[in-house]
Symmetry: C2
Subunit: 334 residues, 2 copies
């Protein structure tokens, strides 16, 4: 290997940070020093992607760089935060410059889109693994949490469900489970963090989470934290053109599509609860601002003391009839 750690950091990761972004000291000292504007709190999240667990060893490095940041920005979006800064800890088996260049292109393309500054990190040698810690700011006291879902709130989701999980299933399966797997792999690898919507949800949504482990499992976090029950209406689950095409052509049944949508994971959409009244005001505000952002209504929050569900927090209906679905989401250690 011809290059040292510091050369790599200099060449690929060090870029000029604007002072206007709150970066007082960026890469190149022991710590980054950051300014938090008055009236704001800091939002912090960390996610690790491990080769062979979260991505395939032959993954396109552009897409890996993109996704390593995207999953963290998705967490910031779920709190209603404005993304500001990121640290990147990358462990590499060796120095492969074309690979690194592509990784950085993916990472910085997304970072630039949302004005996120890379402010530090660590470059180490070992099995390929990426840990990003993203930081954002949120108006003091207004962060969206998982804990305040209210009875009769509408449950909404910011985009199509199940595509990412189908992409993963297609990559893992020896047999052909869809006619055209590319749109699903794209959904898996090029998720869009819903930062703009998240910021609009402040003052409107009663709770919010991002969908990483699957609709059912992630909704359960809201239900437990808020002590609520919920019912999801399968006929309202938003399915993409790509899924509908696979259903039409007979490669996928509707109930298989629902199963992917409910338990699949890797959607990285926002799941939020909101009163009917606030949802109307949100839709008006989005329309006034010319923001064409999706808010699909997929269910309702129920009072646990006055709930039709017996013995469980979460139920499903299809055209108002109860339906049973598997609810398990992704768990690294199971």
């Amino acid at each position: 290997m011809s290059e040292g750690e510091f050369d790599i950091i200099d060449r690929y990761f060090k870029r000029l940070n604007g002072l206007e972004s709150g970066v007082v000291i960026g890469i190149g000292d022991d710590c980054a020093i950051l300014d938090i504007p008055a009236g704001h709190q800091l939002a912090v999240t960390t996610d690790t992607l491990v080769s062979g667990v979260h991505f395939f060893e032959d993954v396109d490095p552009y897409r890996l760089g993109y996704k390593a940041l995207a999953v963290n920005l998705s967490d910031l979006a779920a709190m209603g935060a404005t993304a500001k800064w990121a640290s990147l800890a990358i462990t590499l088996p060796d120095v492969n410059e074309p690979w690194l260049a592509e990784f950085c292109r993916g990472f910085f393309e997304l970072a630039d889109k949302y004005q996120v500054q890379l402010v530090g990190g660590d470059t180490t040698k070992g099995p390929l693994s990426i840990t990003v810690s993203a930081k954002g700011i949120v108006p003091t006291g207004q962060a969206l949490t998982r804990s305040h879902a209210q009875v009769d709130d509408v449950i909404c989701v910011s985009g199509y469900l199940g595509d990412g999980a189908l992409g993963l299933a297609a990559k893992l399966s020896d047999t052909k489970i869809v006619a055209d797997q590319q749109p699903f792999i794209d959904a898996l690898e090029l998720t869009e963090p819903r930062l703009t919507l998240g910021q609009q949800l402040i003052d409107h949504a009663s709770s919010c989470i991002d969908l990483s482990d699957g609709l059912s499992q992630d909704l359960m976090h809201i239900l437990k934290k808020s002590d609520r029950h919920a019912q999801l209406h399968l006929e309202h689950l938003p399915l993409s053109e790509a899924i509908l095409t696979e259903i039409d052509s007979g490669h996928l049944s509707l109930s298989e599509a629902w199963q992917y949508a409910v338990t699949g994971g890797d959607d990285y959409e926002l799941l939020f609860t909101i009163s009917k009244h606030k949802l109307a005001s949100l839709r008006m505000r989005l329309s006034e601002q010319g923001l064409s952002l999706n808010c699909f209504e997929i269910g309702v929050i129920l009072d646990p003391n006055n709930s039709p569900l017996t013995g469980e927090r979460l139920g499903f209906t299809h055209l108002q009839q109860p339906v049973t679905l598997k609810k398990t989401g992704w768990d690294h250690f199971k």
Copy 2:
């Protein structure tokens, strides 16, 4: 494996965070939400430890948990920051509960000592690796950096040099290089982050860095950033009782000891530059506060336009005579 990811997180990593620590929302939501007190900036650092690279696979998990946090707190100390919060991204090959319990005991023992709250992280499956991101606060505009070393400043170090490197060498070597390797292995694995001294250096030191890659290499960062030269006086390098004992018993020569002290790495002491006047005032302040903290004077900052060094920034002397020493530090990719 009998336990899921969320159970592990709940059992080992989730502890009650006091609101007084600025933790508005801790572990258990999409992000942590943190309050930065008025008049302060955020200091952020990230360090990764990889099995087989930064530690031996059979490492004592207590010491690993301790050190994963210690190296990050050392970076905060180098900026003069007060440590406040940490995120822990841990990748585990499997769930070994006694191992995890010991890891957490080491991590939290150090965290508690400096009132550091664990506010988030990620638990993933894969080759053992730990990424900690530590956060602290520093009075606005007063963070210590690498860039303001002044001509005639004294170069100081906060503790003994070379012990950690000797510990590593002893573990790596097939032959016996010291009579008693335990104190050196302890120095390697149980470094003390110099947070208290770092905070005292604000308003006093002109530049500061923590020694992770070796005195020579880390001092070079200050010299490059500050555009200065420097001379280190070998007879003033602080050597521990353990090293002096090895020298006395003939296991180690003095020049070998100097070589470890200058290029060894893993000291995690603070290296700082300070005017003679401010050093006197610092010593008085430490004494008034009853703080017995080491400030060993080991060299001097020189004007590059009026320097006895030819062709290099850093020179060494022994009893005022120039000496040649190897200067290379640790580099993961070389």
